[in-house]
């Protein structure tokens, strides 16, 4: 178990290097520099001496491989560099933004699990019925709605028309501010979870061991509790893990829309400003979180399913 975890952690090292490299290359080939982004429209020419000084200060005159080498060296010491804009360490910038993003993602996944899993279960239990049709229509619609549009609708209804909830912002960090963005972000994984749960439950309902359970003289509710739930859980957990990663990535859109001060909005702002160290740091943070959640899911699955070995 411990050696499995250590191995999983070591496996993240090449992934992080690969991501760092990709981001590095990408930002060296796209047009625009930090210096240029300081002018109003990003196109006017800033004083050449200023640009020259900045490039020198940030080490941007070095060739790509030298800069990458330096960056990796810093990474090894858990140093993500300095933000071009705020001159603060990137780790600090990220730390300030991490909590709101975690709040948002967890709230969105909580919403997705709390609604999606029971919905899928009910649909499977009454497969072919009206309930099944309705819940799957809801699920497909949920998957198809663009997040920014859904977010705008939610704002319009709950903030403008009904006036129940604040339309945007983090406010004092209270739950009221969290509700709308987490629904906007949670609807798509909710829909996907509903579909996955339905498929998993239906699949297991037809399994031979469920027939055995019935032949033992078990009531349907016992069949579900003793034999179906745990088997379905393995499949559901895997989907939850993958969706968690997607949610963190998609939080970029929702955070921007709701002016939520998380990693996502930080990422968008930093891309616009070509604040490359922050962009790299933010992407690495998202990747790390994704890896962390999926390792956690793998471990949980191995706890539930004795056939999965820690190898």
């Amino acid at each position: 178990m411990l050696s499995y975890l250590v191995r999983r952690i070591l496996q993240t090292v090449p992934i992080i290097l690969a991501v760092a490299f990709l981001v590095f290359v990408m930002f060296s080939v796209i047009p625009g520099t930090f210096a240029a982004s300081l002018s109003d429209d990003g196109r006017a020419i800033v004083d050449v001496t200023v640009v020259e000084r900045m490039n020198k200060e940030f080490g941007l005159n070095d060739p790509l491989y030298v800069r990458f080498g330096k960056y990796v060296g810093q990474l090894a010491q858990f140093d993500l560099g300095m933000s071009f804009r705020t001159r603060q360490p990137v780790t600090k910038v990220l730390a300030d933004r991490m909590w709101p993003t975690l709040q948002l993602s967890f709230a969105a996944m909580l919403f997705a699990i709390a609604i999606g899993v029971p919905l899928g279960f009910i649909a499977a239990m009454r497969s072919g019925s009206f309930v099944d049709t309705i819940s799957m229509v809801v699920a497909v619609s949920g998957l198809s709605l663009p997040k920014f549009w859904l977010g705008l609708l939610l704002m319009y209804l709950f903030a403008l028309v009904l006036g129940w909830l604040p339309s945007f912002g983090y406010g004092d960090g209270s739950l009221r501010y969290l509700i709308l963005p987490s629904i906007a972000l949670g609807v798509a994984p909710m829909a996907l979870l509903a579909r996955t749960t339905r498929a998993a439950v239906l699949d297991i309902m037809n399994a031979d061991f469920v027939r055995t359970a019935r032949a033992k003289g078990m009531s349907e509710s016992r069949v579900v509790r003793w034999h179906l739930t745990r088997n379905a859980l393995v499949l559901i957990l895997t989907t939850v893990g993958l969706q968690f990663g997607t949610v963190i990535g998609q939080a970029v859109v929702v955070e921007k829309l709701f002016s939520w001060p998380g990693i996502g909005s930080l990422l968008v702002d930093s891309v616009t400003l070509r604040d490359i160290p922050v962009v790299q740091g933010a992407i690495l943070a998202i990747v790390l979180f994704f890896l962390f959640v999926n390792t956690l899911v793998d471990v949980l699955c191995a706890v539930i399913d004795p056939r999965i070995k820690y190898t």
Binding site: F209, T212, A215, R307
Partner: protein, 326 residues
């Protein structure tokens, strides 16, 4: 042996629904099983043996359903029992073992727990007591080191061991009737013999009646007192085991027995092709008019094509469903 049969099945009919159409997958099937007796049901795949067994304990799932006939168990009609009454019989007085020991056990539960469930469900035992009884149940099916085995998960056991666990589950509550649906088909030949001996010994010791379903004639000959031969959803011949194998009366039974390879036949008669019955079992939606076996029958006549034969009862017991029975 008492004279009252343990199980009486009369004119059983099982419908298969395809869209709005209904086809009789099993029709007019009648048989009885006495206490402690072993009845064999043989036939090719797809002739309705398994669904007949499933229908007896109300386990048919759509698109199949029991649509006619009567099932009397220990004098009580059970085909229309309310679900909770049926559950008291199922597993407790009528148990079933399935063909696939690989998939018939829950992969996420220990075998001990899966056996213990029986005692909790039907005997009102606590889990702790039930787990202890599960060890005894494993002992009775001759599983070595049962104290350790109860903690194992199904994937840690071999196919034969899993089938032993299935038998332990089935016999846990000392049922009156065991439905064994091809219990050895998925196993190695050597393991098959062990499992069959086990079923035979345990059921004989407890007086459990068995409905043994198989397409293996040798197994049926070895295990059963009486044999019903099924073809296309009907029993075409049902007689005492030794009679049916010595002098089959229905052309289908005859064909089945003739197609058995004989040890030493090549030495005596030289190299010959194995005999076979031409054709395949028709699908449920395409059962032919008249006798259902006529398209494959060597003795088929005009009557066979037009008229469905009825059961002809034989003086020495049993019946055959053929216009031309010998």
């Amino acid at each position: 042996m008492t004279t009252k049969p343990l199980l009486e099945v009369e004119h059983l009919r099982i419908d298969l629904a395809i869209g709005d159409a209904r086809f009789a997958a099993v029709q007019d099937v009648s048989f009885t099983i006495m206490r402690g007796e072993t009845l064999g049901l043989v036939g090719e795949s797809g002739c309705g043996k398994s669904i007949t067994a499933l229908s007896l304990i109300g386990l048919l799932r759509p698109p199949l359903n029991l649509s006619g006939g009567a099932v009397r168990f220990d004098g009580q009609e059970i085909q229309n029992l309310p679900a909770d009454e049926m559950r008291k019989l199922r597993g407790n007085r009528i148990a079933m073992i399935f063909q696939e020991p690989m998939t018939a056990l829950n992969p996420l539960s220990t075998v001990g727990r899966q056996i213990a469930e029986m005692f909790v469900l039907h005997k009102g035992k606590s889990w702790a007591e039930a787990e202890r009884l599960a060890i005894e149940a494993l002992v009775s099916v001759r599983v070595p080191a049962p104290e350790r085995r109860v903690k194992d998960y199904p994937h840690q056991l071999s196919g034969g061991m899993r089938q032993r666990v299935m038998i332990a589950i089935a016999l846990a509550c000392d049922p009156d009737l065991l439905l064994a649906d091809e219990p050895t088909t998925a196993l190695d030949v050597t393991v098959q013999a062990e499992i069959l001996d086990l079923i035979k010994d345990l059921c004989a010791a407890r007086g459990t009646a068995v409905l043994m379903i198989s397409h293996d004639l040798g197994l049926i000959a070895n295990m059963c007192q009486r044999v019903g031969v099924m073809y296309a959803g009907r029993i075409v011949e049902e007689r005492a085991a030794e009679e049916i194998f010595q002098a089959p009366r229905h052309p289908y039974t005859n064909g089945l027995i003739a197609s058995l390879p004989l040890l030493g036949a090549r030495a005596r008669h030289g190299r010959q092709r194995l005999k076979e019955i031409a054709g395949v079992v028709p699908p449920v939606a395409a059962f032919p008019q008249g006798c259902r076996f006529h398209p494959r029958c060597y003795a088929a006549s005009e009557t066979c094509r037009a008229v469905d034969p009825v059961e002809t009862h034989l003086p020495q017991g049993g019946f055959v469903r053929c216009h031309h029975h010998v």
